[in-house]
């Protein structure tokens, strides 16, 4: 066991897979010499060589498209989109090809690649550096989409993603890259990509969240506890497929649900979770399944982020409202 933050845990997972599997390569903008703008790939080029860990030209569609080529040739590329907002130039390659090659060729070609995307707001960044595009990917058949919220999960889920025979969008909550430290096993282990996790048991309300929002919800739960409310917290982890079982068990018990995401509201991730709650636990519902999400606006530049990002206080207010409904 070793204490790691998310950056270190992800680096460790890459290091292990690079060492273990000659087919794994890691590339993208600045991931080589520089070790990534967040230092996630630091040291990997020196250790594994420039043909395995390298800088690519500045072209996201090219990065994604070439990775598909490598993957169908038997390699396992782990590519990086430097920031969430820069995954959009690669959208066509991801949606039209990466997600579909297996189906299109009836299983003859598979696309075992991983697209790492640091995502989300709250880091005082330029425009296009704070996006939460998970619904775009979650709505795209053929992809698996996951988001870890702890170093332990990050390592195990990234290893699973690299070993997965299908393309995985691996989104990293950059806001908590270094905020959370945890004991993490040094050896290889993997965590299933389709399971949510109950982080905290409770009786009166289920909160579903993931990524950096988990920490905010946890703070809100502390407030709620002081008010005497008992909240169950589910870390969704897998954006697609969704672990209906864990959600429905929880909501059937609590009868109330709040979904917290920083992505914009309309057609956003929270809507899907609320639909699933309707499908799985309608008769148990004692209050309207509720969402607390980003606004249907561009996420503001740093000085305006305080209004956009969801605070523990806002979550706590919703908890109270829902429990008292």
């Amino acid at each position: 066991m070793k204490v790691m933050n998310l950056v270190q845990a992800i680096n460790d997972a890459l290091d292990i897979k690079l060492a273990e599997d000659k087919n794994v390569v890691v590339y993208g903008e600045d991931v080589g010499v520089e070790g990534g703008v967040f230092r996630v790939t630091e040291g990997l080029q020196v250790k594994h060589g420039v043909s395995r860990v390298f800088d690519s030209p500045l072209a996201e569609s090219g990065i994604a498209g070439t990775a598909l080529g490598m993957a169908i040739a038997g390699m396992k590329p782990v590519i990086e989109m430097q920031f969430d907002g820069f995954s959009y130039p690669a959208f066509n390659q991801i949606v039209s090809h990466i997600a579909r090659f297996r189906n299109r060729t009836r299983g003859k070609f598979s696309v075992p690649l991983v697209i790492r995307i640091p995502y989300g707001g709250g880091i005082n960044a330029l425009e296009h550096h704070s996006e939460s595009p998970e619904a775009y990917f979650g709505h795209t058949p053929g992809l698996k989409v996951v988001i870890p919220s702890t170093p332990y999960d990050a390592k195990g889920m990234l290893i699973a993603a690299i070993e997965d025979p299908d393309p995985v969008i691996f989104m990293e909550p950059k806001r908590i890259y270094r905020a959370i430290k945890q004991e993490v096993p040094q050896e290889r282990y993997s965590i299933p990509l389709d399971k949510a996790k109950v982080l905290q048991a409770g009786e009166q309300l289920t909160i579903i969240a993931y990524g950096a929002m988990i920490r905010e919800v946890q703070k809100a739960i502390v407030i709620a506890k002081q008010q005497g409310f008992s909240v169950e917290l589910i870390d969704l982890r897998s954006i697609w497929p969704i672990d209906r079982e864990t959600i429905s068990q929880s909501v059937r018990k609590t009868g109330r649900v709040l979904v917290v995401t920083e992505a914009p509201q309309s057609y956003g991730p929270a809507a899907e979770l609320i639909s699933i709650v309707n499908e799985e636990a309608f008769l148990s519902l004692e209050a309207p399944p509720t969402r607390l999400t980003g606004f249907d606006t561009v996420i503001p530049l740093p000085l305006g982020e305080k209004h956009y990002m969801i605070s523990p206080e806002r979550i706590a207010t919703e908890i109270e409202r829902l429990v008292k409904y």
Binding site: V25, S51, S56, P57, A59, S61, G62, A64, G65, T66, A67, L68, G69, M70, A71, I72, A73, G74, M75, P77, P89, N92, Q93, S96, H97, F101, R102, N103, R104, T105, R106, G107, K108, F109, S110, P141, G142, K144, D164, P165, D166, D194, W240, P241, I242, R244
Partner: protein, 365 residues
């Protein structure tokens, strides 16, 4: 044989297409001798003829409502057949959607192609074809795949292996064309990019597509050796492609060939070219028909009298019909075909959706 000297002579900046035989099939240079044997040349001619025959029949199947669409290859066969000869078993083939002869040469069956254009993904399995990517519909998006395959070849130190990647003239306007050529060059990837410049992108003529003096010149932007070739000249295409492949597998990186040709047919069976091109244009290009020119060469050189051509075509037609029948007799499209190939293992969510649909089919409520 192509040499650096010839390459210099045909530097794209000089805007001259490499050509070996004239419109009648006569060698431009009397001393020129093809590097292919007479048997090989005759075989190539028959392959062109086969492609043309299959193509014409495909169009007529479509007209009969037995396929939902079809993109004719007529006029572009020399490119495909020449590439087919140059391509080796271990080479990757990355196509758009108008490369019939190239697919056949790599072992794709007509049955599969017919099945695809009847509307079944089973036609993209390409069961007996080694290293052939499926038809790529989104223009140019296939080219980055080729660059990635090229990286994999280098990475795995595969000897004598190249990637053949096709795109149309219209496709050169897309960003992916640019990104793919750039990646391939930076990675010294063994990729032969072939632009089938058939003068049109659906209805849009080349001059509305780009102001560049030709398409081969675009290679300069990436420092990729490039050559404009008469794409209706089987021999020129063969020489250019052979040279390109040699260079690529020798570690010299990518090569770009602009094959100048003409889409004699419609864009697809739902298109009417008379709306956007003139009869003169069509006649001008009819003179340059690749089949006619290779036939001219064969007759001129007395390689064969081609008296059995009709017989040959009859045989072709029989075979083509039987392939089409095989496609028509292909098993029905099942619910499993919708869900079964999305992931290596069917995720619970898809199982749920599939069960719900099957319950509906069974009348279970």
């Amino acid at each position: 044989m192509l040499t650096q000297k010839i390459l210099d002579e045909y530097d794209p900046i000089k805007n001259k297409a490499y050509q070996l035989i004239d419109d009648e099939g006569k060698p431009l240079d009397k001393d020129w001798k093809p590097r292919l044997s007479n048997e090989e040349i005759l075989k190539a001619y028959k392959d062109l003829l086969f492609e043309r025959t299959a193509d014409l029949m495909a169009v007529s199947y479509q007209r009969q409502g037995r396929m939902f669409t079809y993109p004719p290859n007529i006029g572009q066969e020399a490119i495909h057949i020449a590439a087919g000869i140059v391509t080796k078993e271990q080479d990757w083939l990355v196509t758009a959607f108008r490369e019939l002869g190239a697919w056949l040469a790599k072992g794709v069956s007509l049955k599969e192609l017919f099945l695809y254009f009847k509307g079944n993904e089973d036609g993209s399995r390409f069961e007996k074809a080694n290293r052939v990517l499926p038809i790529a519909v989104p223009i140019s998006s296939q080219l980055p795949h080729a660059a990635g395959l090229g990286y994999a070849i280098n990475y795995n130190k595969e000897k004598d292996t190249a990637v053949f990647a096709y795109v149309g003239d219209g496709g050169t306007s897309e960003g992916d064309f640019h990104e793919a050529l750039n990646f391939a060059a930076v990675w010294t990837a063994p990729v032969i990019f072939i632009i089938q410049n058939n003068q049109f992108a659906i209805s849009v003529p080349l001059k509305m597509q780009t102001k560049s003096i030709n398409l081969a010149i675009k290679g300069l932007a990436y420092n990729i050796p490039s050559l404009m070739v008469d794409g209706n000249d089987f021999f020129a295409m063969y020489e250019a492609l052979s040279y390109a492949r040699e260079q690529a597998v020798a570690g010299k990186g990518p090569f770009l060939i602009e094959a100048k040709t003409f889409r004699t047919g419609a864009h697809t069976t739902s298109d009417d070219p008379s709306k956007y091109r003139t009869q003169e244009e069509e006649e001008h290009w009819a003179d340059k028909d690749p089949l006619k020119r290779l036939k001219g060469y064969i007759l001129h050189k007395k390689i064969d009298d081609l008296k059995d051509e009709e017989e040959l075509i009859k045989g072709f037609k029989k075979h083509i019909d039987s392939e089409f029948e095989a496609a028509e007799n292909h098993p029905e499209y099942k619910v499993d075909d919708v869900f079964g190939y999305m992931y290596a293992e069917l995720p619970d969510e898809l199982r749920r959706q599939k069960n719900a649909y099957e319950n509906f089919l069974r009348g279970v409520k």
